[in-house]
Symmetry: C2
Subunit: 157 residues, 2 copies
Amino acid sequence: MTKEKEKIDIKTKVRTLFDNFLFLKHCRKTSERYAILDLVYSNKEHFDIEWLYKEMEKQSFRVSRSTIYNTMQLLVECHLAQKHQFGKSISVYEHTYGNDLHHHLICNSCKKVMEYKDPGLIQFIANNGMKRFTPTHYSLNIYGICSACSRKNKKKI
Amino acid sequence: MTKEKEKIDIKTKVRTLFDNFLFLKHCRKTSERYAILDLVYSNKEHFDIEWLYKEMEKQSFRVSRSTIYNTMQLLVECHLAQKHQFGKSISVYEHTYGNDLHHHLICNSCKKVMEYKDPGLIQFIANNGMKRFTPTHYSLNIYGICSACSRKNKKKI
DNA sequence: GTTACTGCAAACGATTTGCAAGTGG
DNA sequence: CCACTTGCAAATCGTTTGCAGTAAC
């Protein structure tokens, strides 16, 4: 399957999942909700509410910020998106379907957030069952200095 | 050494560390800063700015919220405290000196935050050197359902 | 039709900022 | 004394809320 076709396939799939969720929750299927879902499943890695708002505007699809907040909450609820706060007041999101489990590397210097996939580590955390607590999901954020900033700092010395 | 003596020992130690940090940073040694450090190193696990403010008031030591924010920033900077955001807009802190490395278990239901120590897991993460990124610290937050809420839910069914 | 959803503007709450008065070095 | 700190109040900024109009079903 080509990359392009695969992407369309995922978009169809998540639309169906969202459909079912809305049905079960007795929520209405509005064009705004589907348009936001579609944008969330474009190829952007991490994005915030403001990005979604601006991007919708670019596409000449007028939505209020309230609706975006509302929809993102629904998407998080049905596990089609995840919400993160990487040490800032601002929340960022990422889509989860078709997106491998990963951790985040956050640069202390330039604040860039990178994804980091390590099956061994994921396995280890998953297997490490803790007593008296039933985990549903977790987030591992590793803070440090990225290679670009590391190079920049060396030059200064 | 008794538990009480040990606590006093830690308070003396962190005061010296803070002293050195303030000296190197050309910052002034004010009574407010020391009073806040002392409170941070009382036995509270996790606390927020408001808790510090109220607690200082109880001790009849008047400080403004601004000063508390300012001081906490300094403490984070010199690694005597860590700042967390467990999925809420509010930030919580914990002292780090004399506090073993640990992860956090956060209950989705009652939002309680528990500490979780697993030397094996800590070792594994530490050994898992990632290329082109120099980690300084990390935070692993595991979300799930705590035993109390799990029991409550069972009763409902 | 009924009821939920949307957009707007106002409210909110944690944090930051500007500034006059206070105090450490 | 000079510059950094403090306390206060106002400003900021992401997010939430209330409400009237609109659209699912």
